[in-house]
């Protein structure tokens, strides 16, 4: 090494191995964490995309009813990576069907990549390779269809249409979103059930003229988009460009590059035709069609990157600062023989970058290992969440995602961080003259005269020492304050922002009109379907209740769109929120008259939950409910006053909202307690709405009800007792069928006491034998897709918090070690004048407490505006959502910091207690 400054610095580094290793580990951890952010994000996103693609497939967008010309236009767009065409060829008769409600096959034709993109998995045989070959859904075979590989299906394609028959009467098919006036005809989709013709409507077959002789070459798993109630089983053949006419285009985007106007461009090409985006897959890469989700994903990445870099800068800066005094001595000596300020600065940079060079490859390697290890450790959790989904996805292996570009970015960010961390110590050291360096008189203001300052001798010796020590060593304790502040800052900001983000993502990804029953505390649930809640169910219920292995049973009925109420029942808050949502759809401010005009006619729906007496009493206790009203003898209800209105759960036909906006509602209705909810229920027997008023006994917010349910609904929900529920069911029962499918149906929740009685086996056998009517499952297994995805996001964010905390802990550990080590001569002096260990420990406790309180104040002053800004930013993007201030997070972060800071202090103090012989110098 020719440069003498570098040579001296290198020797000094070797002589101070402990400090050198600390600096090295600081830089190493910084590189590791930056690698985790870049590689971890890409790997996790890739993995989650793969997992998500198990839900709806790998496709990114699908455009419906396209033409050849549009196909060519789209193919020329830079954001398109790959395309595949598909078409709905139509229905064909399926005489082999064993289900009289499913007498058809619905045949779809796919180009080769579409099979993979749509998750069409072969169970037996192979996929169709040429015209005239088909694969059939396993659901047909499950229903007993007499068909196997090699059989042929004579296909004469037809469309199904429905025609309204009664003039002046609108026939509504709510689940298919069809409203049919008398005389109108509409083409039916693949999901439409098999209905017999009646006096209201007629279903016809319209043959397209296309015929095929199709050979079955394979059986595929039931596709995720196959509807159980549809009139036809799904079957797939090869796409035939010459015969299939209008087709759909599925495509994959080029996600590697930024395409700002991608979604707008696609919508322009599609015009008025439907376009669907697979946001489950796109959301994780920050490229979903939903700008809010994109914004949140991008914000998270930047946010974590900034926090890690900030923590790393403080860590490395602190390491350099701790060694400032010792370093300044040898640099002072160099200076006394003619070293310039530049040379002194270069010593600091040399040390920083000579440590960065080995730390970079090692940090990247370790970061990749941490990512792989972390992801693999997370897999069981991810699968335990995923197992709650209706369709259990295949195991997806974790692939590390790293490119040369990533390595360059990591090297650049790491280098920049090291440079930024070293600049200030380098500048400071270059300004100190040789005399100060050699004397060790480094502080510009070493000991201020204490004139005017109140003497501390009235305090106890420990407090006096702590107070004076802190005043004297202000510069030296600054590193520790900084470390404690950044630790608290990272804990509070990451946890609070994680909370806010997951809350928003939960809301955004939540299926609308969903009420989830909280399964905590219950082991199993038995759900009854398709009008089977009759005598057989009552017997089963008694058997379960009397089983010695069952500790508790909760019975519950639920039904959406059970009744209707006049529009004015809904509260002012609800209408205001809806008005804002409609403004977004109409891209302008609608006047009150205009908006009200849209809702002059019609009613609002009411959904109902019926619970057993004990649960009802508990809910009444937990909510704002008047007991006297409950005992009034009339049907009473507890109204769920929380609701949600957003551009996702309110759709205005043929209109696209300006942006996504969400409104959380606290008062769905302004009706007072004791007032009547004027509900009507449709009676099939009487063929009219029947009055069924409910006395409002109380209100429950979603917070009050969170022990029982999570509500995500734009409609009004009421909770009633079982006998009220039974009365409603009697009205809803169809003539001659006391247990019709439109009625509310029960679910039994069971808590087991561990005694084995064979009940579980019997219930499992019952489900297997009669799966049309019963579903028996573990209570915690019933989860929604959004629950699953949010849990995964939470785990990943938690990992980020933990990893960032590592760097902060290292920083705090170092700072406290440096602080205690510098105090060793003082401890020795104190011992020589008779201070006990306990007194020195107490003095340090006081000092630590003051340093901690100082850190708390500065942290709160920085963090609170930051959190408020993040909240404001997110609420501004997202809409009116109630985000509580994270007081608990503050308290937890302060508590953890207290434990850590005092723990480290006591640890270092006990390690450094051997200072007896060091006091002579």
């Amino acid at each position: 090494m020719r440069n003498i400054v570098y040579k001296v610095t290198w020797k000094n580094m070797k002589m101070n191995m402990r400090r050198t290793w600390t600096s090295f580990f600081g830089i190493f951890f910084m590189v590791l964490l930056i690698t985790c952010v870049f590689v971890g994000r890409k790997t996790a996103v890739g993995y989650l995309e793969n997992v998500s693609s198990q839900i709806k497939g790998k496709w990114h967008a699908t455009m419906y009813d396209m033409t050849e010309k549009e196909y060519e236009t789209l193919g020329g767009e830079s954001y398109i990576k790959e395309m595949g065409r598909s078409a709905d060829k139509g229905y064909v008769e399926f005489p082999q069907s064993a289900n009289d409600q499913k007498p058809y096959l619905f045949i779809k034709s796919y180009e080769a990549p579409c099979f993979d993109w749509m998750n069409i998995h072969v169970r037996e045989g192979r996929l169709p390779g040429k015209k005239g070959e088909i694969v059939i859904s396993q659901s047909a075979l499950d229903d007993g269809a007499k068909i196997s590989i090699g059989d042929t299906v004579k296909a004469e394609y037809f469309d199904r249409t429905v025609t309204g028959l009664q003039k002046g009467v609108t026939t509504v098919f709510p689940f298919q979103q069809i409203e049919l006036a008398g005389g109108e005809t509409e083409k039916l989709s693949q999901d439409f059930p098999f209905y017999e013709n009646n006096e209201s409507f007629r279903i016809d077959k319209e043959y397209t003229g296309m015929k095929d002789n199709l050979t079955v070459v394979g059986i595929v798993d039931e596709p995720w988009f196959e509807q159980e109630g549809a009139a036809g089983y799904l079957a797939f053949t090869c796409y035939d460009a010459e015969r299939d006419g209008i087709f759909n285009i599925a495509c994959l985007f080029d996600l590697e590059n930024e395409h700002y106007d991608m979604y707008q461009n696609i919508r322009e090409i599609a015009g008025s035709r439907e376009v669907a985006f697979n946001d489950y897959v796109l959301a994780f890469s920050g490229r979903s069609s939903d700008s809010v989700v994109n914004f949140m994903v991008q914000l998270m990445t930047i946010f974590f990157m900034v926090l890690i870099v900030l923590a790393a800068i403080v860590l490395i800066y602190n390491v350099f600062n701790i060694s400032f005094e010792e370093r300044s001595r040898y640099l002072g000596m160099l200076c006394s023989v003619g070293a310039t300020g530049k040379q002194k600065r270069s010593s600091v940079y040399f040390e920083a970058f000579s440590l960065f060079l080995p730390a970079l490859p090692l940090g990247i390697l370790a970061g990749c290992l941490v990512v792989l290890l972390g992801m693999n450790l997370l897999l069981p959790f991810i699968y335990s969440f995923m197992s709650g989904l209706a369709v259990l996805p295949e195991k997806v292996p974790v692939h590390l995602s790293i490119s040369a570009w990533d390595i360059l970015i990591i090297a650049f960010s790491g280098g920049l961080t090291v440079l930024l961390s070293a600049i200030l110590p380098a500048v400071k050291i270059s300004r100190i003259g040789p005399i100060e360096c050699i004397r060790g008189n480094l502080d510009k203001n070493p000991g201020r005269l204490k004139e005017g300052a109140k003497s501390s001798m009235s305090l106890s010796a420990e407090k006096m020492l702590a107070k004076n020590s802190l005043r004297y060593q202000r510069r030296k304790t600054r590193g520790m304050r900084r470390a404690a502040s950044i630790f608290m800052l990272i804990l509070i900001v990451t946890t609070a922002t994680t909370q806010i983000l997951t809350q928003l993502i939960t809301i955004r990804m939540q299926d609308s009109d969903i009420v989830n029953v909280k399964s905590e505390g219950w082991d199993y649930q038995l759900s009854v379907f398709n009008g089977n809640a009759g005598e057989e169910y009552e017997k089963l219920k008694e058997e379960i209740k009397n089983d010695v292995g069952v500790e508790a049973v909760r019975e519950e009925y639920s039904g959406t769109f059970v009744g209707n109420v006049p529009r004015d029942v809904m509260g002012k808050e609800y209408w205001n929120a809806l008005h804002r949502v409609f403004n977004l759809y109409y891209h302008r401010e609608l006047s009150d008259e205009e908006f009200q005009g849209m809702f002059e006619e019609g009613t609002n729906v009411v959904s109902v939950i019926g619970v057993d007496d004990e649960t009802f009493e508990n809910i009444a206790e937990a909510t704002d409910t008047d007991q006297k009203l409950l005992e009034s003898g009339t049907p009473t209800a507890i109204v769920v006053n929380s609701g949600e209105v957003s551009t996702a759960n309110w759709v205005v036909s043929e209109k696209e909202p300006e942006k996504y906006e969400f409104h959380e509602i606290e008062h769905m209705t302004d009706l007072g307690k004791g007032e009547k909810l004027p509900m009507t229920i449709y009676s099939p027997k009487e063929e009219k709405q029947v009055d069924f008023p409910l006395l409002v006994a109380g209100y429950g917010s979603k917070e009050q009800l969170e022990k029982y349910y999570t509500f995500h609904s734009e409609s009004l929900w009421v909770i009633v007792e079982l006998d009220t529920c039974e009365k409603m069911n009697q009205i809803m029962a169809e003539d001659g069928n006391e247990e019709s499918g439109s009625m509310m149906e029960p679910t039994l929740y069971m808590k087991m006491n561990g005694k084995k009685t064979g009940l579980i086996k019997r219930l499992n056998a019952l489900t297997e034998a009669d799966e049309m009517h019963y579903i028996f499952a573990r209570a915690d297994r019933v989860k929604t897709i959004s629950d699953t995805l949010c849990s995964m996001i939470r785990i990943l964010l938690l990992c980020f918090v933990l990893l960032t905390s590592v760097i902060c802990l290292l920083n705090l550990y170092n700072s406290i070690h440096g602080w205690i080590a510098e105090q060793k001569p003082h401890f020795a002096m104190l011992v020589s004048v008779g201070a006990t260990q306990e007194q020195i420990r107490r003095m340090l406790m006081y000092e630590t407490l003051q340093i901690f309180l100082g850190s708390c104040v500065s942290t709160l002053l920085i963090v609170t505006p930051l959190i408020l800004a993040v909240r404001y930013l997110l609420i501004d993007q997202f809409g009116a959502v109630r985000i509580g201030f994270p007081w608990l997070v503050y308290a937890a972060a302060i508590f953890i910091t207290v434990i850590v800071i005092f723990g480290f202090m006591l640890y270092h103090y006990h390690r450094e207690k051997d200072y007896r012989l060091q006091f002579t110098g």
């Binding site: 008189n441 070493p446 000991g447 201020r448 005269l449 204490k450 004139e451 300052a453 003497s455 501390s456 001798m457 106890s460 010796a461 006096m464 020492l465 004076n468 020590s469 005043r471 004297y472 060593q473 003082h826 020795a828 002096m829 104190l830 011992v831 020589s832 004048v833 008779g834 201070a835 006990t836 260990q837 306990e838 007194q839 007896r916 012989l917 006091f919 002579t920 110098g921």
Partner: protein, 232 residues
Amino acid sequence: MEILRCENLTKIYGEGNIRTHALKSLSFSVEKGEFVSIVGPSGSGKSTLLHILGGVDKPTAGKVFIDGTEIHGLKEDKLAIFRRRQIGLIYQFYNLLPMLDVDENIGLPHLLDGRKLDRERLDNIVEHMGLVERRRHLPGQLSGGQQQRVSIARALYNRPAILLADEPTGNLDRSTGAEIVSLLKEANRTWKQTLLLITHDENIALQADRMLCIEDGEITRDERIRSLGGDE
């Protein structure tokens, strides 16, 4: 009256082949009010002896009795309390706490004892040491001689049974050193303060009542220079 007695004091540093005998079965006693100087070449064991006498280091073997108490038989905390009440230590490099002002440094052992400062005594001692103008100064703002005077004042404030000084003039110029020695002698005479002083300076050593010479951890000479009371 005997105020200090040490019996067979031995101190060994290191282990195996690198064992160093700093003190070799050293025994002597000191009378109350006696001024004893300890001389010897560098590495002879003087400072080790003083640290052991002051209770800040432990002997490998042997006992130290101060005012009848075997100090190394005391538990750590008891020894610390004994030290702040009965022993005054003065060092070559003053060992003042840089963050405390003159008054606070002087009163520190007393404050550590949980007692209130006796203002009159503090004023007296500060005046006696010529530090009245410097009471609110920090050690960094004082000269070497002033710092050593603070150190002596601190050692004397509690009126300890014994004052142990480890080359108190080693870091000072001749005249300041003489000033410090005269202060120590004055304390010895005025308050009958027992004083053990380590020095390299023969002139200072000869001002004591008695001189102990240590070489290789052993007392090679124990010479009375003048009788207790001042006669040569």
